[in-house]
Symmetry: C2
Subunit: 793 residues, 2 copies
């Protein structure tokens, strides 16, 4: 068989596997629902939409539909039962009041590592106290699970992997606790090994959907990366053999006097470290100093393993990650559409042989789903949905509701400046107008950018000089004038609206600087906190970025993809936590830090084995596994990669050569896998943000906002003069301008929030929107939507 | 204006700019051609196709058409004149006989750095000798340019940037040489600064099209990256200010006792180095040892600058590179199609109101274009083109010829085994058949994979033990038996065909090992070269990869994208050359290497300023700029990044703090830009190779090969029994199997070569095939194709 044919076949196979899996998943989903319905023993009737064409939907129907819609909105996929109690239970389950304590207990459980032995110095609790808290957490987790079980069908509940995971983790932890208690009371030594499992709780509760998805994705990417990884290891193994033969018998030594490629395992480790570039060029120098042609070996090695293989890892991870992400998003969109279809079935009415939803039903439903939205916001959404003003909408349009609700629309009440109300004559006098005009002018902004820049230069120079200390007063005064002038010109509530980050930032920094300067001059002694806050005024420099158009675009893109990175932060935390706990169990106390070492042993990190090692020379004693914070900082350093072999050497010397495994596995998992996935995500998100158009939904709602203009005001909300402005800028200056262009008076303005992607899901969906658009929506209808309302209708 | 609108606008602008540029380019191309035609003063007539519908094309017409087709085939875009002499000149220009000396002179010119002062020790020439050679090179370059000028119109010639570049470089080099000569003869000191410009010759000759394209691409990507880069520098500057304020007044010292964040420029440099991770975690330790919360500053810094900004650099480079590449490929495809259209116009005949090309004309043309192809190969291509057996083809189909010629089709003459000819009875006896069957069996391969693996383990263990030395004989004997058995089973010429890399490799390695072992045992002393070759037998391990299906796929992908990376190698060489020459001028002799240092000064790399520095401690003395080879190795180490600040420190200490600029600029250009472009290319190429289908052209020709089967044999080439087999495998084993399945006898077999993408261009075109397919071909017709044949027809 030709190679190209081989490649082809694998592709086909991979494609098939994937499709198979997807199909299996959907089938499973479908079965879940059918089983749920079949095994529903409570008195009630199975409804199809045809059964209740004549009845008006009751309150419970609204509750059920609202549950479906909010499932779709937040991309939940919990198969709840549709009985009255179950829906109520489910509503309660998704409420903040039950979710918040859950998060609290999760954090508490993870935070126990701070106070358990080995604890942060001074924070150690007796073991019974921390175990009591852990028990509390376990009870809470069990309670949450029981709550979940109350509204899901038993068989569905037990077929869900994440529930089983949690149950197993709870049981295992409980057993470990009992064993530990018994052994400790009897005076035997034991380790709390189940602590490594704690992140399982964080991953497997329904609340951490994004995290679980990321994990699932990593698991699958891992399979794809495996063949490349084997080839990579094989390449290192072969090169090590070559190196051993080339350099092993030449009796060379490194610059620290240790033998050079003396045995195979050391050669393997050294060359693995070279892949990470951490010991380049030191590993090459002895051979290079002997003969310059030996450098070719290392250059070839680096090109093949560091550049080619690492790029290919990135390529495979990027490719696989994107593929799996797409599948997951597709499943998620499918679930969303089915939920919306179910909600539609619950509430629809027949009109001209079509099933539709009337405006009143729709508005009532939205009120139930999103009680915090205002009447005008709801009307705006209706206008976007019912484009042809028919008074009702079909199923397809209704499906969009979940996306519409996810778009953050900010309402702003347009008010005149308070001073204009108090003293209109003065405020509108020519002098006042001149001032306001000056503040609006772009040179006003330029001037203060220059001031900030000059201030930064002053900060950079030595601040013990008296003249520079004096200058600080001038700058402070200038900043104060700037803020007061702006407050004079712009309406204060608009100026300090939540989305105007820069105004808040400016004012805060200036106020802190003012307080600091006054405190310093009155009491002539400062605290460290205040010092630090004063230093933060340097950050005002960032405002200059806002002046340059292209920089602002990049900055905005950065800010837009920022929130979605929280998932990655959580992901890496999970790995850090497990590795930190493991490291603490393995290397606790091997290396110690003494702030002012007095004895020779203390200078050697409290361990005589480390004498003369690079670990001690570089003063790495504080990089140890003696508490969770130190361990985390050490893991960050290992993630950055540089000098990781030196850090590892400290623990290899004090324990055993097998300790290298811990560090190599950490590098493989966190650096090669997770960091590559992070880069893949940034790549995808940044390219998308930077080049593509806006999402369909948003541009539709924006178009509507512009199209309607004052339309809603006169027709729908006659008592309010309403304005719909899209172009409200986060920058205070431009905001002011657009305001001054508008007619004065109290009015509402809508704008789409800058932080557009509130959920990672929304961003992901947008990533693959193009492909998903082609997805036939009929598939959704193929899965029947069945629900019971126990005799209320 | 809202931010989203800002983003949009920039996008639109960028898009517009791009399209504008592209249009401008095409317009320019068009104008070039028109001008060329207008200013054609030689007697002749401007032909349109209608002018010569009745005449048969003559030899000169074939020459002209062949020039067009070969332009299209090799993606050349040289606007040659169409007079008889000019075409002859152009043919001569593109011939190997004129191109080869050109490459030779280019290499010679660049290689002068080896013998010019500072030269490789022992290789230094007197300055007049190297300058004489350089003069020779300059004459050759000028000659090549004059040759080019002989067949291009003068105005077109002088409007071409690359010609002007070469002319300027020649003149500047000549001036520099004269100035240097005069000053040296008069005893003044001078530097040959024009040597930095030498890569200009390598880039700007028409032969290095790919390299020039890569350069052009970098120039454009640079513009896109600029805003991110400014933001990145701004971020570092701000963080440096913060660091200075936070740590500057605490009187901390690094582990080497130097002051910690004592002034702004040092802080800036240290934090720039931290972005490259080269001084992590050392730079953080003093502050971390003081207070553990200070680590937060460094963690935030690394997350923002190292992870976020570096990923965004990659994203922007990836995005920009792909975009520009696409445009270039689009232009290239456009040029190709126009060339083919011109060739068609020269040779087409009218049939039923359509202009077509007859089979005989087509075959004659292909014979002129590709004289080395066999008759049967040409027939195969015709069969692929003329799918409906009409005897003629249209313009659209004719255009594909350029791509068809680029597909490497290997012909193999199927022959019976020589032993079968000599002694058919013995060769076909049951014992012989059994042996051959055994060799074909997959367990034969598995067995020798195991043998190689066991051998590798023996190699890895200590080879001074006698038993292991004895074992080497056993392994050698086994390998010899393997090769002999294979030669017995497979036809030798098929076994050693050029595309069977593994067979060549195996045989060579085994022969070398055999010779080595015999030499060692007979004379009991070895040379280093033989030693090294013997070590290479470890590489037989690579053959194991071939056994595993998935690994082979990855390996094949690697091999496929391999050749296209030559462009990147050349690109990086160009940068290395300029930086190396510059570095040699700046830092020559500052650091010296003494293999066996005797005096204390020699131990300090011959420079007392370096006493106690890390540069000396780590024995980096050989990393210097004293000759071009050392400088190149040093630049490779700087590219790998690790310890680059230590390497830089050696030259900063011995010269001036401004020397840091050299190293920072090198890092910015080579690591941030070039390496990211390399990664972007690997990403794109690997993902494509790994996931997409074959190119249209190739699958068409493969389908045809299969479809025709023995078709050609009976119909077209009756005297030869021809077989068309697609599935000939590079692996000897499978090759054998498919052969044994076929009927015996002498016959031709076609297969598409494994190294499918002979030119980078072909790969690039395939990358964007999907998008280019949508491109309307009519645009090509919009550009008129005019040519003159001076009165020959």
């Amino acid at each position: 068989m030709s190679n190209s044919a081989v490649v082809e076949e694998v592709r086909v196979k991979e494609g098939e596997e994937e499709e198979e899996e997807e199909k299996r998943k959907r089938r499973k989903n479908e079965e879940d629902w059918q089983q749920e319905v079949r095994s529903e023993h409570t008195p009630g009737k199975i409804l199809t939409t045809l059964d209740r064409t004549t009845t008006k939907p009751g309150d419970q129907a609204f509750q059920l539909a609202a549950a479906y819609v909010s499932d779709a909105q937040y991309a939940r996929n919990i198969p709840f039962q549709t009985g009255e109690n179950a829906i109520w239970c489910y509503h309660f389950y998704t409420k903040w009041v039950t979710k918040f304590p859950m998060y609290l207990f999760l954090i508490l459980d993870l935070a126990l590592a701070l106070v358990e032995s080995p604890a942060i110095p001074g924070l150690e609790w007796p073991f019974w106290a921390s175990m009591l808290v852990e028990l509390l957490c376990l009870v809470a987790f069990t309670g949450r699970l029981v709550h979940l079980g109350m509204f899901t069908e038993r068989r569905v509940f037990w077929r869900d992997g994440k529930n089983i995971c949690v149950v197993v983790a709870v049981i295992v932890t409980a057993i470990d606790m009992v064993v530990y208690l018994v052994l400790t009371v009897e005076g035997h030594w034991d380790i709390r090994w189940s602590r490594v499992l704690r992140p399982i709780f964080a991953i497997n509760f329904s609340e951490s959907r994004q995290l679980r998805r990321a994990f699932c994705n990593i698991r699958r990417t891992l399979l794809g990366i495996l063949s490349v990884f084997i080839l990579f290891l094989f390449s290192i193994a072969t090169f090590s053999l070559l190196a051993l033969k080339l350099f092993g018998n030449q009796h060379l030594t490194t610059h620290q006097g240790s033998p050079y490629f003396d045995n195979y395992l050391n050669a393997l480790f050294d060359l693995y470290v070279l892949v990470t570039t951490a010991n380049s060029p030191d590993i090459m120098m002895p051979a290079y100093n002997k003969n310059r042609w030996y450098s070719l070996f290392f250059i070839v090695y680096i090109v093949v393993n560091t550049y080619l293989f690492m790029s290919i890892f990135l390529a495979v991870v990027y490719n696989g990650y994107r593929k799996h992400l797409k599948n997951e998003v597709r499943t998620s969109v499918f679930n969303k559409r089915r939920s919306m279809a179910c909600a539609f079935q619950v509430l629809c009415e027949p009109v001209d042989e079509d099933m539709v939803m009337s405006q009143s039903t729709w508005l009532k439903l939205v009120r139930v789903v999103a009680p915090t939205t205002s009447e005008s916001h709801r009307m705006l959404l209706w206008q976007v949905s019912d484009e042809e003003h028919q008074g009702y909408i079909g199923k397809r349009v209704f499906t969009r509701l979940a996306d519409l609700l996810n778009i953050e629309v900010v309402e702003q009440w347009r008010r005149p400046h308070p001073l204009e109300n108090c003293a209109p004559r003065v405020y509108n006098s020519w002098l006042s107008c001149l001032v306001r005009h000056a503040v609006h002018h772009r040179f006003f902004r330029y001037f203060f950018d220059v001031v900030i820049f000059v201030n930064a230069i002053f900060i950079a120079t030595d601040d013990t000089v008296l003249a520079i200390q004096k200058a600080e007063w001038v700058f402070l005064a200038l900043y104060l004038v700037e803020i007061l002038l702006k407050l004079y010109t712009y309406e204060p509530r608009a100026f300090f609206s939540l989305s105007n980050f820069w105004n808040w930032f400016d004012t805060l920094i200036v106020l802190i600087a003012l307080i600091y300067t006054m405190v310093v001059h009155s009491s002539s002694h400062t605290t460290e906190i205040l010092d630090f806050l004063f230093i933060l005024r340097v950050l005002r420099l960032l405002r200059i970025v806002d002046t340059f158009h292209r920089l602002r675009v990049v900055m905005q893109t950065l800010i837009n993809i920022g929130p979605t990175m929280v998932t990655f932060a959580a992901l890496i935390m999970v790995f850090y936590y497990s590795f930190a706990i493991l490291g603490m169990e393995l290397f606790h106390g091997k290396v110690q830090f003494f702030p002012t070492p007095s004895t020779p042993e203390q200078q050697m990190c409290g361990n005589p084995l480390l004498v003369g090692s690079e670990f001690v020379q570089r003063q790495y004693c504080k990089n140890n596994f003696n508490d969770i914070v130190s361990a985390s900082v050490l893991l960050v350093q290992l993630t950055v990669v540089n000098q990781w072999h030196v850090l590892a050497s400290g623990f290899v010397i004090t324990t055993d050569i097998a300790a290298r495994l811990y560090f190599i596995v950490f590098h493989m998992i966190v650096v090669i896998l997770i960091i590559n996935i992070f880069i893949a995500f940034v790549l995808e998100a940044f390219i998308l943000e930077y080049t593509l158009d806006k999402g369909k939904m948003e541009s539709a709602i924006e178009r509507k906002i512009q199209e309607l203009g004052l339309g809603i005001t006169t027709q729908e909300l006659e008592n309010k003069q309403e304005m719909l402005i899209e172009n409200m800028e986060h920058s205070g200056n431009e905001l002011g301008k657009s305001e001054s262009d508008q007619s004065a008076g109290k009015c509402i303005m809508f704008k789409i929030s800058e932080k557009r992607y509130r959920t990672v899901n929304a961003l992901l969906q947008r990533m693959f929107e193009q492909d998903l658009a082609d997805e036939p929506e009929d598939q959704v209808d193929a899965v029947p939507c069945r629900f019971t309302l126990d005799g209320v209708l």
